[in-house]
């Protein structure tokens, strides 16, 4: 194969997430409190792996496959929910058709998170 990406075949080239020791800019000390939806993503990961639907290695596989562009463009829990979702579909927790229907239903409820999340009082 000559048209495959070099990075997946070269035995010595490091993968993008293996960033220890590489040059980078100054540390940005800014911090934010986690929003409810971010905490819920974390809880979904903890609970579904705790029930054996997938493992932390499955989470990391998807995060790493999402690539450096996603690392740059998305926030931490944005990447996590995509990785959790991918693993849950693979585990058979629900189908892509069910997910598509549910996403359309969620989006039809309103404009922002508060309007679209039905049980906002439980967190």
């Amino acid at each position: 194969m000559t048209d495959a990406p070099e990075s997946s075949l070269d035995p010595v080239l490091r993968q993008w997430h293996d960033m220890g020791g590489l040059p980078a800019g100054p540390v940005d000390p800014a911090e934010h409190d986690y929003a409810l939806w971010e905490k819920r993503v974390d809880a979904l990961m903890v609970l579904t792996t705790g029930k054996g639907l997938f493992t932390v290695d499955g989470l990391r596989r998807v995060l790493e496959d999402m690539g450096e562009e996603s690392f740059a463009a998305m926030t931490y829990y944005e990447r996590w929910i995509h990785a959790v979702n991918r693993n849950l579909i693979e585990a058979g927790a629900y189908t892509t058709e069910e997910l598509a229907r549910k996403l359309a239903e969620v989006r039809a409820r309103g404009e922002d998170y508060g309007a679209c999340s039905l049980d906002r009082g439980d967190g």
Binding site: V27, V46, H82, D112, Y113
Partner: protein, 213 residues
């Protein structure tokens, strides 16, 4: 401040939320809602389990780690147990450690320890709560293993040249935390007073407890 759903936007510690919290529903937020509702509808999870998991997460804070450090400073036998098996020692103090393998690394006059996860974001979350943003970002992960002294200086920690810096790269299976050196001038202090000196950053290793004035 947002106004539509104030109970969702209150900040427990005063840090700003990301600006997008008040804006239009994002793709990731929609996905979170959809995944959560599907799991509940399928009977995989209950809303109560999710709320309880968030409550457990919120209850974890660096205060737990600080109590462990203060105990180690005042009880040599506990300190020996902590350095031998930090998970078991933290459980002794009632910390909710689950199956996490915790490893305490001790600072002394000639060695300073600092913790990172270069590959992702592994962190002793059961002992310290969720990690700060910078712990998960490229600059810290890339540079602290290559130029730790310079990175620590950016955090305001200037170490004497004779102090050796050891950087510990965490994995999903091994979570390091730093046991800082007890500051001089704290002789006779009780555990509670000592614990107040121990911040999250001291246990990551980007700060040291400040001696009393």
């Amino acid at each position: 401040m947002p106004h539509d759903h104030p109970h969702e936007h209150l900040s427990p510690s005063g840090h700003p939320y990301r600006p997008d919290q008040d804006g239009p529903l994002t793709a990731a937020q929609a996905l979170e809602i959809a995944v959560r509702e599907l799991l509940i509808e399928k009977g995989v999870l209950t809303a109560r389990e999710i709320a309880d998991a968030i409550a457990r997460m919120d209850a974890r804070s660096p205060a737990a780690g600080a109590r462990v450090v203060a105990r180690a400073w005042t009880d040599p036998a506990f300190k020996a147990r902590l350095l031998a098996d930090a998970s078991a020692a933290a459980r002794e103090m009632g910390c909710d450690i689950d199956a996490l393998r915790l490893i305490a690394v001790e600072n002394d006059e000639t060695t300073h320890n600092v913790v990172v996860c270069t590959l992702c974001s592994c962190y002793p979350r059961n002992l310290l709560g969720l990690p700060p943003d910078w712990y998960k970002q490229r600059a810290y992960r890339s540079r602290v293993v290559a130029e730790p002294r310079k990175v620590l200086a950016e955090f305001g920690l200037e170490l004497p040249a004779h102090v050796r810096i050891r950087v510990h790269d965490s994995t999903a299976d091994m979570r390091y935390f730093v046991l800082p050196a007890r500051p001089a001038g704290t002789e006779g202090w009780d555990e509670e007073r000592l614990a107040a000196l121990v911040t999250r950053d001291c246990m990551i290793g980007v700060a040291v407890p400040q001696a009393p004035k």
